[in-house]
């Protein structure tokens, strides 16, 4: 044991040596936009760093509550940020292993009496030493069915969140309005969650940059026409139902790649070169259903409502 009591802590050195700087830089580099989220994470990191220094000096003894809630629309990067958060907490020594266990209602709640508790405990055991990410957490609570087994899972979760604060961090995620309702009906959760982080929707320009990044990772390039088509696509897609930010863009790009492959396969005469194989043309994007007003079924439903 160290005999001489520590009197000072160099925060800047701690910041460098803990590897927190690395995680934050990674976050900045890899995630487009999300400025308020990054700001909150930086603040959280600062708080934890200071708290760690306080503990080194013997000023604080309790483990701070680290459970969080991530609210925002689908495809705004909640899971990705949770993964980074797990890394961050691990570097700072607040979780021992730093892995992320991502679950939904189905993983926690059982089908019959006596099925829920073992199922929830199984997941909690797996998440020990890491971060438990519960996506669409509000589905755990079904107010219309008082015999719903979700309540049982909630009680076990609350107990573990309180008693095993050293062992795991729980992150609840979902749409903002429904999470708010969930917290209202389960005040136990609200009081145990210290950090609420809101994820804003991406702007058109940000989505366009995200698309560029996704394609770059897979070694595809957009022709100039295709870039313009993609910008139009993003603008139109946003107004149609089931818009899921970056996830919609990823799906659109997957389909564009499919059409590109098909186009090459049917039209290519003779050998194709690397440029042809990696270029997505305007027509690959323009032939999306989004330009024809979306899915037929959605249009029919819309007309019926009108």
């Amino acid at each position: 044991m160290d005999a001489t009591p520590i009197r000072t802590v160099d925060l800047a050195a701690e910041y460098e040596s803990s590897g927190v700087a690395e995680v934050l830089e990674e976050l900045d580099r890899e995630l487009v936009g999300l400025a308020p989220v990054k700001q909150r994470i930086r603040e959280t990191a600062a708080l934890l760093l200071v708290d760690r220094a306080r503990r080194a000096l013997g000023l604080a003894l309790e483990t701070p509550t680290l459970h969080m809630s991530f609210t925002g629309n689908p495809g705004t990067g909640k899971t990705t940020v949770a993964l980074k958060m797990a890394g961050l907490l691990h570097r700072l020594g607040y979780v021992r292993k730093g892995h992320l266990v991502s679950v939904t209602r189905d993983d926690l709640v059982g089908q019959y009496i006596g099925h829920t508790a073992p199922k929830t405990k199984e997941v909690l055991k797996r998440a020990m030493g890491g971060v438990l990410f519960i996506d669409e957490a509000y589905y755990l609570y079904r107010p219309d069915n008082e015999r719903d087994y979700g309540q049982e899972a909630i009680e076990i979760l609350l107990q573990v969140m309180e008693n095993n604060r050293d062992d795991l961090v729980v992150i609840l995620a979902g749409y903002a309005d429904r999470m708010e309702l969930f917290f209202q009906s389960n005040p136990g959760f609200r009081s145990r969650i210290a950090h609420h982080i809101e994820f804003p929707d991406y702007s058109d320009a940000e989505l366009s940059r995200i698309a560029g990044q996704m394609l770059g990772d897979q070694h595809y390039i957009l022709s100039d026409g295709a870039q313009a088509a993609l910008n139009d696509y993003i603008r139109l897609r946003r107004q149609q139902p089931h818009f899921a930010n970056a996830r919609s863009i990823r799906n659109a790009l997957d389909r564009a790649r499919l059409r590109q492959a098909n186009r090459l396969f049917t039209t290519a005469r003779g050998p194709v070169d690397a440029t042809m194989l990696s270029t997505i043309e305007e027509e690959d994007i323009r032939s999306s259903r989004v330009f024809a007003g979306g899915l037929t079924i959605d249009r029919v439903l819309e007309e019926e409502r009108a």
């Binding site: 292993k97 073992p118 797996r126 020990m128 890491g130």
Partner: protein, 129 residues
């Protein structure tokens, strides 16, 4: 009489901290840890009762310790052991096994010698309170 089986059985009983360290070692090697208990410590009693499934997907020893705690609460007067199973092809066997709980009052193992033809001796053991 103190029963000696598996690893560490000639050492004083492991504390929870030491058990945690051993489990961490097992998990680092990707072994699945299972908990078993019995009230019959006879050396020929190989198959003990299982406490839940072996844990194949843990990352941290805390999960095992939670189960161990539950098992101790349910069977405070039983022998409880942890088995670490290696599923690597070619091994597929228990690599490590150690006792983590004993009854306060341990039974005695009594040996009986039976003389056979030609001065041969057969040995049997019985567990006695």
């Amino acid at each position: 009489m103190r029963i000696t089986q598996g690893c560490f059985s000639y050492l004083p009983d492991l504390t929870d901290e030491q058990i945690t360290a051993q489990v961490e070692y097992c998990l680092r090697r990707d072994w699945a840890v299972g908990i078993e208990f019995t009230d019959d410590p006879h050396p020929r009693n190989t198959y003990w009762e299982m406490w839940g499934h072996p844990m194949f997907d843990l990352r941290d020893a805390k999960g095992v310790l939670m189960e161990l705690h539950d098992c101790r609460t349910a069977y405070p007067d039983s022998y409880i052991r942890l088995n670490a199973f290696d599923n690597t092809r070619g091994f597929e066997t228990v690599m490590m096994s150690f006792i983590v709980n004993r009854p306060a009052e341990e039974p005695r193992l009594h040996m009986t010698r039976t003389e056979g033809p030609g001065r041969s001796i057969r040995y049997t053991h019985t567990v006695r309170p």
